[in-house]
Protein backbone atom coordinates (compact mmCIF):
# COMPACT_ATOMS: atom_id res chain seq x y z
CA UNK A 1 0.00 0.00 0.00
CA UNK A 2 1.26 3.48 -0.83
CA UNK A 3 1.24 5.79 2.18
CA UNK A 4 2.38 8.90 0.29
CA UNK A 5 1.76 9.80 -3.37
CA UNK A 6 3.20 13.08 -4.61
CA UNK A 7 2.52 14.03 -8.21
CA UNK A 8 4.14 16.95 -10.06
CA UNK A 9 4.49 19.11 -6.95
CA UNK A 10 5.77 22.63 -7.59
CA UNK A 11 5.99 25.55 -5.19
CA UNK A 12 7.30 29.08 -5.73
CA UNK A 13 8.11 31.68 -3.08
CA UNK A 14 8.67 35.35 -3.95
CA UNK A 15 9.10 34.48 -7.62
CA UNK A 16 11.66 31.70 -6.92
CA UNK A 17 10.87 28.11 -7.76
CA UNK A 18 11.60 26.23 -4.54
CA UNK A 19 10.13 22.86 -5.63
CA UNK A 20 9.98 21.99 -9.32
CA UNK A 21 7.82 19.14 -10.53
CA UNK A 22 8.56 16.68 -7.72
CA UNK A 23 6.91 13.26 -7.97
CA UNK A 24 7.44 10.18 -5.79
CA UNK A 25 5.60 7.58 -3.76
CA UNK A 26 6.35 5.87 -0.46
CA UNK A 27 5.25 2.34 0.33
CA UNK A 28 3.99 1.31 3.75
CA UNK A 29 6.88 0.32 6.03
CA UNK A 30 9.54 2.22 4.08
CA UNK A 31 12.14 4.49 5.62
CA UNK A 32 12.73 7.17 3.00
CA UNK A 33 15.82 9.28 3.51
CA UNK A 34 15.54 12.68 1.85
CA UNK A 35 18.90 14.23 1.12
CA UNK A 36 19.85 17.47 -0.55
CA UNK A 37 21.94 20.55 0.10
CA UNK A 38 20.80 23.49 2.24
CA UNK A 39 18.05 25.38 0.45
CA UNK A 40 17.15 22.31 -1.66
CA UNK A 41 13.50 22.53 -0.58
CA UNK A 42 13.34 19.68 1.94
CA UNK A 43 11.57 21.69 4.66
CA UNK A 44 9.27 23.28 2.04
CA UNK A 45 8.37 19.79 0.82
CA UNK A 46 7.44 18.78 4.38
CA UNK A 47 5.48 22.00 4.93
CA UNK A 48 3.41 21.20 1.84
CA UNK A 49 2.89 17.60 2.99
CA UNK A 50 1.77 18.78 6.44
CA UNK A 51 -0.73 21.31 5.12
CA UNK A 52 1.28 24.28 6.42
CA UNK A 53 1.62 25.57 2.84
CA UNK A 54 -1.19 25.03 0.38
CA UNK A 55 -0.49 27.41 -2.52
CA UNK A 56 1.38 24.75 -4.49
CA UNK A 57 0.52 23.05 -7.78
CA UNK A 58 0.30 19.28 -8.23
CA UNK A 59 -1.20 16.83 -5.75
CA UNK A 60 -0.14 15.33 -2.44
CA UNK A 61 -2.03 12.31 -1.19
CA UNK A 62 -1.39 10.82 2.21
CA UNK A 63 -3.20 7.58 3.10
CA UNK A 64 -5.09 8.01 -0.17
CA UNK A 65 -6.52 11.44 0.79
CA UNK A 66 -5.66 14.70 -0.98
CA UNK A 67 -4.24 16.76 1.89
CA UNK A 68 -5.78 19.96 0.51
CA UNK A 69 -9.08 18.56 1.78
CA UNK A 70 -7.65 19.10 5.30
CA UNK A 71 -9.03 15.82 6.59
CA UNK A 72 -8.19 15.84 10.30
CA UNK A 73 -8.16 12.05 10.39
CA UNK A 74 -5.18 12.09 8.02
CA UNK A 75 -3.26 14.71 10.00
CA UNK A 76 -3.86 12.74 13.20
CA UNK A 77 -2.16 9.75 11.51
CA UNK A 78 1.02 11.77 11.01
CA UNK A 79 3.72 12.34 13.60
CA UNK A 80 6.04 15.26 12.84
CA UNK A 81 9.36 16.24 14.36
CA UNK A 82 10.78 19.47 13.03
CA UNK A 83 14.39 20.62 12.83
CA UNK A 84 15.66 20.58 16.35
CA UNK A 85 14.54 23.57 18.28
CA UNK A 86 15.35 24.15 21.88
CA UNK A 87 12.48 23.76 24.29
CA UNK A 88 12.37 26.84 26.44
CA UNK A 89 14.04 26.00 29.73
CA UNK A 90 11.37 27.69 31.81
CA UNK A 91 8.35 26.19 30.06
CA UNK A 92 6.38 24.65 32.91
CA UNK A 93 5.66 21.16 31.66
CA UNK A 94 6.76 17.71 32.71
CA UNK A 95 7.92 15.09 30.22
CA UNK A 96 4.61 13.27 30.69
CA UNK A 97 2.60 16.44 30.03
CA UNK A 98 4.46 17.12 26.77
CA UNK A 99 3.93 13.56 25.52
CA UNK A 100 0.24 13.79 26.44
CA UNK A 101 -0.11 16.63 23.89
CA UNK A 102 0.22 14.03 21.15
CA UNK A 103 -2.93 12.21 22.27
CA UNK A 104 -5.97 13.33 20.31
CA UNK A 105 -8.69 11.59 22.30
CA UNK A 106 -8.21 11.22 26.03
CA UNK A 107 -9.56 8.01 27.52
CA UNK A 108 -8.71 5.38 30.14
CA UNK A 109 -5.83 4.07 28.03
CA UNK A 110 -4.08 7.46 27.69
CA UNK A 111 -1.77 6.91 30.69
CA UNK A 112 -0.74 3.50 29.36
CA UNK A 113 -0.09 4.93 25.87
CA UNK A 114 2.11 7.69 27.34
CA UNK A 115 4.01 5.18 29.49
CA UNK A 116 4.56 2.91 26.47
CA UNK A 117 5.81 5.77 24.29
CA UNK A 118 8.18 6.93 27.05
CA UNK A 119 9.39 3.38 27.61
CA UNK A 120 10.15 3.05 23.88
CA UNK A 121 12.33 6.16 23.92
CA UNK A 122 13.90 5.17 27.24
CA UNK A 123 12.56 8.04 29.29
CA UNK A 124 9.88 6.45 31.48
CA UNK A 125 11.92 7.08 34.63
CA UNK A 126 12.07 10.80 33.73
CA UNK A 127 8.33 11.27 33.24
CA UNK A 128 7.88 13.67 36.16
CA UNK A 129 10.90 15.83 35.35
CA UNK A 130 10.46 19.23 33.75
CA UNK A 131 11.22 18.96 30.06
CA UNK A 132 13.41 22.09 30.13
CA UNK A 133 15.83 20.37 32.55
CA UNK A 134 16.66 17.59 30.08
CA UNK A 135 19.59 17.51 27.65
CA UNK A 136 19.06 18.32 23.94
CA UNK A 137 19.10 14.62 23.02
CA UNK A 138 16.61 13.72 25.73
CA UNK A 139 14.31 16.56 24.69
CA UNK A 140 14.35 15.26 21.14
CA UNK A 141 13.38 11.82 22.43
CA UNK A 142 10.47 13.41 24.34
CA UNK A 143 9.29 14.97 21.06
CA UNK A 144 9.57 11.56 19.36
CA UNK A 145 7.47 10.03 22.15
CA UNK A 146 4.90 12.80 21.60
CA UNK A 147 4.91 12.16 17.85
CA UNK A 148 4.41 8.40 18.28
CA UNK A 149 2.03 8.27 21.26
CA UNK A 150 -0.99 8.40 19.00
CA UNK A 151 0.33 5.43 17.02
CA UNK A 152 0.88 7.32 13.75
CA UNK A 153 1.06 5.57 10.41
CA UNK A 154 3.58 8.07 9.06
CA UNK A 155 6.43 9.81 10.85
CA UNK A 156 7.96 12.90 9.19
CA UNK A 157 11.33 13.97 10.57
CA UNK A 158 13.09 17.13 9.44
CA UNK A 159 16.80 16.89 10.29
CA UNK A 160 15.94 15.64 13.76
CA UNK A 161 19.47 15.11 15.10
CA UNK A 162 21.02 18.49 14.27
CA UNK A 163 22.97 19.68 17.30
CA UNK A 164 22.81 16.35 19.12
CA UNK A 165 25.97 14.45 20.13
CA UNK A 166 27.05 11.35 18.23
CA UNK A 167 26.09 8.82 20.89
CA UNK A 168 22.58 10.27 21.11
CA UNK A 169 22.36 10.30 17.30
CA UNK A 170 23.07 6.57 17.17
CA UNK A 171 20.49 5.90 19.88
CA UNK A 172 18.04 7.99 17.90
CA UNK A 173 18.62 6.04 14.67
CA UNK A 174 18.27 2.71 16.49
CA UNK A 175 14.99 3.97 17.87
CA UNK A 176 13.76 4.87 14.39
CA UNK A 177 14.62 1.39 13.19
CA UNK A 178 12.77 -0.13 16.14
CA UNK A 179 9.67 2.02 15.50
CA UNK A 180 9.72 1.06 11.85
CA UNK A 181 10.15 -2.67 12.43
CA UNK A 182 8.04 -3.21 15.56
CA UNK A 183 5.31 -0.59 15.12
CA UNK A 184 5.28 -0.73 11.28
CA UNK A 185 5.55 3.06 11.08
CA UNK A 186 6.50 4.49 7.68
CA UNK A 187 9.19 7.13 8.08
CA UNK A 188 10.27 10.07 5.91
CA UNK A 189 13.42 11.59 7.18
CA UNK A 190 15.43 14.57 5.88
CA UNK A 191 19.10 14.43 6.70
CA UNK A 192 22.54 15.75 5.80
CA UNK A 193 24.17 12.65 7.25
CA UNK A 194 24.76 10.43 4.20
CA UNK A 195 26.32 7.69 6.32
CA UNK A 196 23.22 7.44 8.54
CA UNK A 197 20.93 7.48 5.50
CA UNK A 198 22.99 4.66 3.97
CA UNK A 199 22.69 2.60 7.17
CA UNK A 200 19.06 3.15 8.08
CA UNK A 201 16.97 4.21 5.06
CA UNK A 202 15.37 1.63 2.79
CA UNK A 203 15.06 4.14 -0.06
CA UNK A 204 16.50 7.54 -0.92
CA UNK A 205 15.13 10.66 -2.55
CA UNK A 206 17.73 13.21 -3.48
CA UNK A 207 16.27 16.64 -4.20
CA UNK A 208 17.73 19.96 -5.19
CA UNK A 209 14.56 21.88 -6.04
CA UNK A 210 13.77 19.12 -8.56
CA UNK A 211 14.09 15.39 -8.06
CA UNK A 212 17.68 14.33 -8.66
CA UNK A 213 17.31 10.66 -7.74
CA UNK A 214 14.67 8.41 -6.20
CA UNK A 215 15.22 4.72 -5.64
CA UNK A 216 16.55 2.05 -3.31
CA UNK A 217 19.32 3.10 -0.92
CA UNK A 218 21.90 0.70 -2.37
CA UNK A 219 21.18 1.95 -5.92
CA UNK A 220 22.29 5.41 -4.85
CA UNK A 221 25.23 4.57 -2.62
CA UNK A 222 26.68 1.87 -4.88
CA UNK A 223 26.69 4.19 -7.90
CA UNK A 224 29.86 6.34 -7.89
CA UNK A 225 28.56 8.54 -10.72
CA UNK A 226 25.43 9.43 -8.74
CA UNK A 227 27.44 10.12 -5.58
CA UNK A 228 29.85 12.33 -7.52
CA UNK A 229 27.02 14.23 -9.22
CA UNK A 230 25.32 14.67 -5.81
CA UNK A 231 28.44 16.06 -4.12
CA UNK A 232 29.03 18.43 -7.06
CA UNK A 233 25.47 19.73 -6.92
CA UNK A 234 25.74 20.12 -3.13
CA UNK A 235 28.96 22.08 -3.55
CA UNK A 236 27.32 24.35 -6.14
CA UNK A 237 24.34 24.94 -3.87
CA UNK A 238 26.68 25.67 -0.98
CA UNK A 239 28.64 28.18 -3.08
CA UNK A 240 25.41 29.78 -4.27
CA UNK A 241 24.15 30.11 -0.70
CA UNK A 242 27.54 31.41 0.47
CA UNK A 243 27.70 34.09 -2.26
CA UNK A 244 24.07 35.02 -1.69
CA UNK A 245 24.61 35.42 2.04
CA UNK A 246 27.74 37.54 1.58
CA UNK A 247 26.09 39.77 -0.99
CA UNK A 248 23.05 40.16 1.29
Amino acid sequence: MQIVEIDRLSYAYSGNLVLDNISFTIDEGDILGIIGPNGAGKTTLFSCMLGLLDDYTGTIKILGEDIKKKNNKVFKSIGYIQQKKTIEQNFPATVEEIVSLGITITDKTSKEKIALALETVGLLAQKDRRVGELSGGQQQRVLIAKAMVNNPKLLILDEPVTGIDLEMQNKFYSLLEKLNQENKITIIWASHDLDAVNRFATSVACINRSMFFHGKTYEFFENPDLLKAYSESSMQAHMHLHNHTHRG
Binding site: N72, Q82, P92, E97
Partner: protein, 281 residues
Protein backbone atom coordinates in the same frame (compact mmCIF):
# COMPACT_ATOMS: atom_id res chain seq x y z
CA UNK B 1 -13.45 40.24 65.02
CA UNK B 2 -12.82 38.29 61.79
CA UNK B 3 -16.10 36.41 62.11
CA UNK B 4 -17.94 39.65 62.77
CA UNK B 5 -16.52 41.22 59.64
CA UNK B 6 -17.52 38.17 57.63
CA UNK B 7 -21.13 38.72 58.67
CA UNK B 8 -21.26 41.93 56.62
CA UNK B 9 -22.94 41.37 53.27
CA UNK B 10 -20.51 43.64 51.43
CA UNK B 11 -17.53 41.66 52.80
CA UNK B 12 -19.08 38.34 51.82
CA UNK B 13 -19.68 39.63 48.31
CA UNK B 14 -16.19 41.12 48.13
CA UNK B 15 -14.62 37.80 49.10
CA UNK B 16 -16.77 35.69 46.77
CA UNK B 17 -16.19 38.04 43.83
CA UNK B 18 -12.51 38.47 44.72
CA UNK B 19 -11.82 34.73 44.89
CA UNK B 20 -13.69 34.18 41.58
CA UNK B 21 -11.63 36.89 39.92
CA UNK B 22 -8.40 35.51 41.41
CA UNK B 23 -9.11 32.08 39.89
CA UNK B 24 -10.15 33.37 36.46
CA UNK B 25 -7.36 35.88 36.01
CA UNK B 26 -4.58 33.53 37.08
CA UNK B 27 -5.79 30.70 34.81
CA UNK B 28 -6.10 32.96 31.74
CA UNK B 29 -2.91 34.81 32.70
CA UNK B 30 -0.79 31.64 32.64
CA UNK B 31 -1.40 31.22 28.91
CA UNK B 32 -0.80 34.94 28.26
CA UNK B 33 2.49 34.97 30.20
CA UNK B 34 3.77 31.82 28.48
CA UNK B 35 2.88 33.22 25.05
CA UNK B 36 4.88 36.35 25.94
CA UNK B 37 1.67 38.34 25.79
CA UNK B 38 1.70 39.71 29.32
CA UNK B 39 0.62 43.19 28.23
CA UNK B 40 -2.33 41.87 26.23
CA UNK B 41 -4.49 42.14 29.37
CA UNK B 42 -3.56 45.81 29.67
CA UNK B 43 -4.56 46.42 26.05
CA UNK B 44 -7.89 44.64 26.59
CA UNK B 45 -8.67 46.63 29.73
CA UNK B 46 -7.87 49.95 28.05
CA UNK B 47 -10.09 49.00 25.10
CA UNK B 48 -12.76 48.15 27.66
CA UNK B 49 -12.28 51.63 29.15
CA UNK B 50 -13.42 53.13 25.84
CA UNK B 51 -16.42 50.77 25.87
CA UNK B 52 -17.31 51.65 29.46
CA UNK B 53 -17.23 55.34 28.59
CA UNK B 54 -19.66 54.59 25.71
CA UNK B 55 -21.93 52.72 28.16
CA UNK B 56 -21.90 55.57 30.68
CA UNK B 57 -22.55 58.14 27.97
CA UNK B 58 -25.45 56.17 26.46
CA UNK B 59 -26.94 54.71 29.67
CA UNK B 60 -26.23 51.12 28.62
CA UNK B 61 -24.86 48.74 31.32
CA UNK B 62 -21.14 49.70 31.00
CA UNK B 63 -19.76 46.20 31.57
CA UNK B 64 -21.51 44.98 28.39
CA UNK B 65 -20.25 47.87 26.25
CA UNK B 66 -16.79 47.43 27.79
CA UNK B 67 -16.85 43.70 27.02
CA UNK B 68 -18.04 44.29 23.45
CA UNK B 69 -15.33 46.83 22.66
CA UNK B 70 -12.68 44.72 24.36
CA UNK B 71 -13.63 41.66 22.25
CA UNK B 72 -13.85 43.70 19.04
CA UNK B 73 -10.47 45.28 19.77
CA UNK B 74 -8.86 41.91 20.57
CA UNK B 75 -10.22 40.27 17.40
CA UNK B 76 -9.17 43.36 15.43
CA UNK B 77 -5.55 43.32 16.57
CA UNK B 78 -5.32 39.56 16.07
CA UNK B 79 -6.41 40.05 12.46
CA UNK B 80 -3.99 42.95 12.11
CA UNK B 81 -1.13 40.75 13.32
CA UNK B 82 -2.04 38.02 10.86
CA UNK B 83 -2.60 40.08 7.74
CA UNK B 84 -0.35 43.12 8.12
CA UNK B 85 2.47 41.17 9.87
CA UNK B 86 2.74 43.88 12.51
CA UNK B 87 4.74 42.85 15.62
CA UNK B 88 2.63 41.75 18.60
CA UNK B 89 3.87 44.45 21.00
CA UNK B 90 3.06 47.18 18.46
CA UNK B 91 -0.53 45.92 18.02
CA UNK B 92 -0.92 45.87 21.81
CA UNK B 93 0.23 49.50 21.93
CA UNK B 94 -2.29 50.45 19.20
CA UNK B 95 -5.22 48.83 21.03
CA UNK B 96 -4.17 50.19 24.41
CA UNK B 97 -3.80 53.80 23.34
CA UNK B 98 -6.85 53.81 21.03
CA UNK B 99 -9.11 52.44 23.78
CA UNK B 100 -7.82 54.98 26.27
CA UNK B 101 -8.12 57.82 23.74
CA UNK B 102 -11.75 56.88 22.98
CA UNK B 103 -12.53 56.84 26.69
CA UNK B 104 -10.92 60.24 27.31
CA UNK B 105 -12.72 61.74 24.31
CA UNK B 106 -16.14 60.52 25.49
CA UNK B 107 -15.47 61.65 29.06
CA UNK B 108 -14.55 65.15 27.89
CA UNK B 109 -17.73 65.26 25.79
CA UNK B 110 -19.90 64.18 28.73
CA UNK B 111 -18.45 66.76 31.12
CA UNK B 112 -15.67 64.95 33.03
CA UNK B 113 -15.09 62.01 35.35
CA UNK B 114 -17.99 60.54 37.32
CA UNK B 115 -17.93 58.34 40.42
CA UNK B 116 -18.88 55.33 38.25
CA UNK B 117 -15.95 55.87 35.96
CA UNK B 118 -13.56 56.17 38.90
CA UNK B 119 -14.79 52.83 40.24
CA UNK B 120 -13.94 51.21 36.90
CA UNK B 121 -10.54 52.87 36.76
CA UNK B 122 -9.44 51.95 40.28
CA UNK B 123 -11.74 49.04 41.21
CA UNK B 124 -14.49 48.90 43.81
CA UNK B 125 -14.53 45.42 45.27
CA UNK B 126 -16.23 46.59 48.50
CA UNK B 127 -19.10 48.03 46.46
CA UNK B 128 -20.01 45.00 44.34
CA UNK B 129 -23.73 44.36 44.33
CA UNK B 130 -25.49 40.99 44.52
CA UNK B 131 -26.12 41.25 40.76
CA UNK B 132 -22.44 41.96 40.08
CA UNK B 133 -21.38 39.01 42.26
CA UNK B 134 -23.75 36.67 40.43
CA UNK B 135 -22.53 37.95 37.03
CA UNK B 136 -18.89 37.46 38.10
CA UNK B 137 -19.67 33.94 39.37
CA UNK B 138 -21.44 33.03 36.12
CA UNK B 139 -18.61 34.36 33.95
CA UNK B 140 -16.02 32.57 36.10
CA UNK B 141 -17.97 29.32 35.73
CA UNK B 142 -18.13 29.68 31.95
CA UNK B 143 -14.44 30.57 31.58
CA UNK B 144 -13.26 27.74 33.83
CA UNK B 145 -15.48 25.14 32.13
CA UNK B 146 -14.14 26.06 28.69
CA UNK B 147 -10.51 26.16 29.87
CA UNK B 148 -10.82 22.76 31.59
CA UNK B 149 -12.46 21.31 28.46
CA UNK B 150 -9.80 22.73 26.09
CA UNK B 151 -6.87 22.67 28.50
CA UNK B 152 -4.73 20.26 26.48
CA UNK B 153 -5.36 22.03 23.16
CA UNK B 154 -4.55 25.46 24.62
CA UNK B 155 -1.43 24.08 26.26
CA UNK B 156 -0.36 22.55 22.92
CA UNK B 157 -0.76 25.90 21.10
CA UNK B 158 1.16 27.63 23.89
CA UNK B 159 3.96 25.06 23.72
CA UNK B 160 4.33 24.97 19.93
CA UNK B 161 1.74 26.50 17.60
CA UNK B 162 3.16 24.95 14.42
CA UNK B 163 3.17 21.44 15.86
CA UNK B 164 -0.36 21.98 17.17
CA UNK B 165 -1.47 23.05 13.68
CA UNK B 166 0.12 20.00 12.08
CA UNK B 167 -1.66 17.73 14.55
CA UNK B 168 -4.97 18.96 13.13
CA UNK B 169 -6.05 21.42 15.83
CA UNK B 170 -8.22 24.33 14.59
CA UNK B 171 -5.65 26.93 15.68
CA UNK B 172 -7.42 30.01 14.39
CA UNK B 173 -10.75 29.15 16.07
CA UNK B 174 -9.02 28.26 19.34
CA UNK B 175 -7.03 31.51 19.31
CA UNK B 176 -10.17 33.59 18.76
CA UNK B 177 -12.00 31.69 21.49
CA UNK B 178 -9.09 32.31 23.84
CA UNK B 179 -8.97 36.06 23.27
CA UNK B 180 -12.73 36.24 23.87
CA UNK B 181 -12.22 34.37 27.16
CA UNK B 182 -9.34 36.73 28.01
CA UNK B 183 -11.60 39.73 27.31
CA UNK B 184 -14.28 38.32 29.62
CA UNK B 185 -11.64 37.64 32.31
CA UNK B 186 -10.40 41.22 32.06
CA UNK B 187 -13.91 42.63 32.39
CA UNK B 188 -14.53 40.40 35.42
CA UNK B 189 -11.19 41.45 37.00
CA UNK B 190 -11.85 45.17 36.46
CA UNK B 191 -14.48 45.12 39.21
CA UNK B 192 -11.79 44.05 41.65
CA UNK B 193 -8.69 46.10 40.83
CA UNK B 194 -9.81 48.50 38.12
CA UNK B 195 -8.68 49.01 34.56
CA UNK B 196 -5.25 50.31 35.49
CA UNK B 197 -4.21 47.29 37.56
CA UNK B 198 -5.91 44.42 35.72
CA UNK B 199 -2.75 43.08 34.12
CA UNK B 200 -1.10 42.68 37.52
CA UNK B 201 -3.66 39.99 38.45
CA UNK B 202 -3.03 38.22 35.16
CA UNK B 203 0.75 38.39 35.36
CA UNK B 204 2.19 38.51 38.92
CA UNK B 205 0.74 35.24 40.37
CA UNK B 206 1.83 33.37 37.24
CA UNK B 207 5.35 34.77 37.19
CA UNK B 208 5.59 33.82 40.88
CA UNK B 209 4.24 30.30 40.21
CA UNK B 210 6.81 29.80 37.43
CA UNK B 211 9.58 30.29 40.00
CA UNK B 212 8.57 26.97 41.61
CA UNK B 213 9.77 25.05 38.49
CA UNK B 214 6.82 22.65 38.38
CA UNK B 215 4.77 21.11 35.57
CA UNK B 216 1.85 22.83 33.84
CA UNK B 217 -1.01 21.67 36.08
CA UNK B 218 0.95 22.27 39.27
CA UNK B 219 2.05 25.72 38.07
CA UNK B 220 -1.60 26.59 37.35
CA UNK B 221 -2.67 25.38 40.81
CA UNK B 222 0.14 27.29 42.55
CA UNK B 223 -0.77 30.43 40.60
CA UNK B 224 -4.46 30.13 41.54
CA UNK B 225 -3.55 29.56 45.22
CA UNK B 226 -1.19 32.57 45.31
CA UNK B 227 -3.77 34.71 43.57
CA UNK B 228 -6.51 33.76 46.06
CA UNK B 229 -4.08 34.35 48.95
CA UNK B 230 -3.18 37.84 47.67
CA UNK B 231 -6.83 38.80 47.14
CA UNK B 232 -8.05 37.59 50.55
CA UNK B 233 -5.09 39.04 52.48
CA UNK B 234 -5.27 42.23 50.41
CA UNK B 235 -8.98 42.70 51.19
CA UNK B 236 -8.37 41.98 54.90
CA UNK B 237 -5.46 44.44 55.19
CA UNK B 238 -7.26 47.14 53.22
CA UNK B 239 -10.33 46.81 55.47
CA UNK B 240 -8.32 46.79 58.70
CA UNK B 241 -6.04 49.69 57.71
CA UNK B 242 -8.61 51.61 55.67
CA UNK B 243 -6.54 51.42 52.47
CA UNK B 244 -7.58 51.18 48.82
CA UNK B 245 -8.31 47.46 48.22
CA UNK B 246 -7.04 47.36 44.60
CA UNK B 247 -3.62 48.77 45.43
CA UNK B 248 -3.33 46.61 48.56
CA UNK B 249 -4.17 43.41 46.66
CA UNK B 250 -1.59 44.14 43.97
CA UNK B 251 1.10 45.08 46.49
CA UNK B 252 0.46 41.88 48.50
CA UNK B 253 0.83 39.97 45.23
CA UNK B 254 4.12 41.76 44.51
CA UNK B 255 5.34 41.06 48.07
CA UNK B 256 4.59 37.34 47.58
CA UNK B 257 6.55 37.42 44.31
CA UNK B 258 9.57 39.08 45.95
CA UNK B 259 9.47 36.64 48.89
CA UNK B 260 9.42 33.59 46.60
CA UNK B 261 12.18 35.10 44.46
CA UNK B 262 14.36 35.72 47.55
CA UNK B 263 13.65 32.21 48.90
CA UNK B 264 14.61 30.69 45.57
CA UNK B 265 17.80 32.71 45.41
CA UNK B 266 18.72 31.66 48.97
CA UNK B 267 17.98 27.98 48.30
CA UNK B 268 20.06 28.02 45.09
CA UNK B 269 22.98 29.60 46.94
CA UNK B 270 22.67 26.99 49.69
CA UNK B 271 22.75 24.20 47.10
CA UNK B 272 25.91 25.60 45.48
CA UNK B 273 27.67 25.82 48.86
CA UNK B 274 26.56 22.26 49.71
CA UNK B 275 27.89 20.95 46.39
CA UNK B 276 31.23 22.72 46.93
CA UNK B 277 31.53 21.25 50.44
CA UNK B 278 30.71 17.78 49.12
CA UNK B 279 33.37 18.18 46.43
CA UNK B 280 35.98 19.27 48.99
CA UNK B 281 35.33 16.40 51.42
Amino acid sequence: MILEVLEFGFMQRALIAGISVAITSSVIGLFLVLRRNSLFGDALSHAAFGGIAIGLATNIYPLWTGLTLSILGAVGITKLRQYAKIPADATVAILLSSGLALGILLISLSGGFTLDLFSFLFGSIMLVSVEDTLAILAMTGIILSIIILLYRQLMYITFDEEQARVSGLPISKLNYLFIILASVAVIVSMRLVGILLVSSLLVIPNVTALLFNKGFKKTALISVSLSIFSVVIGIAISYAANLAPAGTIVLVSTAVFLTVLAARHYSKKKQIVKKLEEARS
